[in-house]
Symmetry: C2
Subunit: 337 residues, 2 copies
C-alpha cells in the first residue's frame, strides 16, 4: 500500500514515518511506498529507506500532483502553527483550511476512480477548546465538550474536522480526526509559541541551561509524549469507524499535570540541581493566553481503542532522555549529573 | 446607516427588509440605505422604497463591489439550501463557505479603513445538529449541544459560525450567529426539500389541496413562524456581546411540536375538513432523513434577550392565514370554509 504523510519532515511526522517503516505494515497491509511531503527534506535516515519518497515544497502546490498517486492512506499533519496563524490571518487560512480542502479534493479522485476511498487521519488539536462566556471550560475537556476555539489555529482545526467528516459521509474519503494534546518534550530551541515553555522547563535544565517559566506553578495542562501521539495516530488509522464511535473528532490521551507536578517529576528523574535551573518570571501575555487553554483532558473514546496516556510525567521525561541518548545528543543532556 | 441583506429577495430576507423599513432604524440609528443582494430582484414593493438599492447577481461575484460600500451592518442570509448542497457538493462549498468568506473579507475593509467593524448577523441553522454514534441527540437540542451535522448544508453553517467568530475575535467584523429553526408555513409550492412537508401539511389543505405526510404523526420538530425569525435576527443584531453571552452561535426559539399536534392545531384553526386533506403515505427516504433531525430545541440564550417562541402551533397557522389575507392571496385560503 501507498501512504502519504503531510508534514512528514516535522517533529511528529518524522517519528510517525520511523514507526511505520519499522512496523512495515498498516491495517494488515504491507507499506510499499511512504511519501513524505513537507516544506523541508526529511531526515537522511528516513530518506535513505528504499520505500520512502520525498516531496519538498508548499503542500498546496503539491496537491494536484498528489492526486495522481492514488494513496491508500494519508496522515495529514502539515499545518501552520498557532503563532503563525495569529501573526498572519490569511496565511493561516490558506495553509490550514485551503490546503486541507485541496488535499481532500486530490484524494477524492481515488474514490472517483472506483477504488476504495483513501483513509485519512487528521491531526486536530486540543486548541479547538476554549472558555466562552456562554460555556466555561470544564476542569477536563472530553470528546464531547463543546469546542470554542480562541485562536485561528484552533478555529481552522475545528473547521477541518467537520469538513473531513462531510467528505467522509459522502464517501469521498474515509476520514478520522484525532485531537493531539500538547506534545512534550519537544527537542530543539524555544520556538516562541506560547506553549513553548511546557517543553522548555524540562529541556533547558536537562541541557544545563536556565529556563524561565512564564506562568505560575498551579497552571495545569494535558501533556503527552511524541511516542504516545504516534501510537494514537496509528491506532486511529487502523480502527473501524464502529470502534472509533463515529466520525466526530476524538481526544488522544493525556497526562494532566500542573507545572509544579512537572517540576517535581523533573527533580525525581534528574535531581534538584536540574530543577533549580527553572525560574518563575511571570509573562502576562503568555499567562493570559494559557489561561484560555484546557487544564486537562479525558479521552474516553481513545481508551476504548486501547490507547493509554503515558504513566505519568516522569515517564514523559524519561522517554525524552532515552530519545536524546539514542540520537547520541550529548549536549541535550549535559545538565544531568 | 447602511445595511446589507444577502438573500434579500428570499422568504426571510424580504420579510426582514420589510420589518427594517417599517422600523426605520436599527440599534438606535436611522437606516438611510438598505441594500438587497440576491440572485433575483426583490419584491416590487420593497424596490419601490427610496432607501432600497437592489443588487442582482451571484453573491460571490458581488463581494468585491460590496467592499466599497462601507456597510455598518449586514444580515447574511444567502445560502444554497440543503437539497442543493447534497446534489452538488462543490456548488455547496462555493455558495456557502467560499461566498461567506469572500463577504467577510469584503467587510474587513471597513475595519481596515479605521471605522468600527461592520456588525454581521449570520443565519445558521438547526441543521448543525445531528445524532452521532458517540453522542445521541438529546430530546431537545440546546445552545450548548455538541453539533454533529449530517448534511453538507449543516456542515457549512457550522464552519461559517466558527469562521465568523474568529473574524470577530480579530476585530475584522462584529459577528453573531443565530441558528434558525424550521420556518413554517412557507408559502408557495412544495420545493422537494425533505422538510417541505412541515409547511405542506398546513399550506396545501388550507388551499383546498390534498397533502401527503411522508412521516409518522409521532415525528417531532422545532418550528417557528417567519415573524418570530425576523424578530430574532433583529434582536441578535441589536444585542451587546455581553447580553448575547459571547460569540458562539445561539438557537432561536421554537415551538416543539409533533406532526399529530400540528394537525390538531390545523383542525382547531381551520376545521376537520381541512385536516382531513392530509394523508399519511410513508416515504422511507424522507423518514430516514428526518430521523436524523432534532425532535425539539431550547433557546436559553435567546430567552435572555427577551425572545419568545410563537405561543403554539395554532398561532403559527393563524399568522400564515393573516399573511395570506394581507397579501390578498385568496387562492392560498380557498380550502377554508
Amino acid at each position: 500500500m501507498k501512504i502519504l504523510i503531510t508534514g512528514g519532515a516535522g517533529f511528529i511526522g518524522s517519528r510517525l514515518a520511523r514507526a511505520l517503516l519499522d512496523r512495515g505494515s498498516l491495517a494488515g497491509h504491507p507499506i510499499d511506498r511512504l511519501v513524505l511531503a513537507d516544506q523541508v527534506a526529511p531526515r537522511a535516515e528516513l530518506a535513505a529507506d528504499g520505500r520512502v519518497e520525498t516531496r519538498v515544497g508548499v503542500l498546496a502546490a503539491q496537491c494536484e500532483a498528489l492526486a495522481a498517486d492514488g494513496f491508500d492512506g494519508v496522515f495529514h499533519l502539515a499545518s501552520a502553527v498557532s503563532g503563525e496563524c495569529e501573526a498572519d490571518f490569511d496565511l493561516g487560512l490558506r495553509s490550514n483550511l485551503d490546503t486541507t480542502r485541496a488535499l481532500l479534493d486530490a484524494l477524492r479522485g481515488t474514490a472517483r476512480a472506483g477504488r476504495p476511498p483513501a483513509r485519512l487521519v487528521f491531526s486536530s488539536s486540543v486548541a479547538v477548546f476554549g472558555p466562552d462566556p456562554s460555556k466555561p471550560l470544564p476542569e477536563q475537556v472530553g470528546d464531547d465538550t463543546l469546542p470554542a476555539p480562541k485562536t485561528s489555529y484552533g478555529t481552522h482545526k475545528l473547521m477541518c474536522e467537520h469538513l473531513i467528516a462531510d467528505y467522509s459521509r459522502k464517501g469521498f474519503i474515509d476520514g478520522r480526526s484525532a485531537r493531539l494534546m500538547t506534545v512534550t518534550v519537544r527537542p530543539g530551541r524555544p520556538n516562541g509559541a506560547a506553549s513553548s515553555f511546557f517543553s522548555g522547563i524540562v529541556r533547558e535544565p536537562l541541557a544545563g541551561v536556565e529556563s524561565i517559566c512564564p506562568v505560575g506553578p498551579e497552571v495545569s495542562h494535558p501533556l503527552t509524549s511524541a511516542a504516545r501521539t504516534v501510537e494514537g495516530l496509528i491506532a486511529v488509522y487502523e480502527a473501524s469507524i464502529e470502534a472509533l464511535g463515529g466520525r466526530l473528532a476524538l481526544n488522544l490521551p493525556a497526562v494532566n499535570a500542573t507545572v509544579a507536578q512537572m517540576l517535581d517529576a523533573l527533580e525525581a528523574v534528574a535531581g534538584k540541581a536540574v530543577r533549580d535551573r527553572v525560574r518563575f518570571v511571570r509573562d502576562e501575555t503568555i499567562a493570559g493566553i494559557v489561561a484560555n487553554w484546557p487544564r486537562g483532558a479525558t479521552a474516553a473514546r481513545a481508551a476504548r481503542l486501547g490507547l493509554r496516556a503515558d504513566a505519568d510525567f516522569q515517564t514523559i521525561i524519561r522517554r525524552y532522555i532515552d530519545d536524546c541518548r539514542a540520537a547520541g545528543d550529548d549536549a541535550a543532556l549535559k545538565g544531568l549529573a
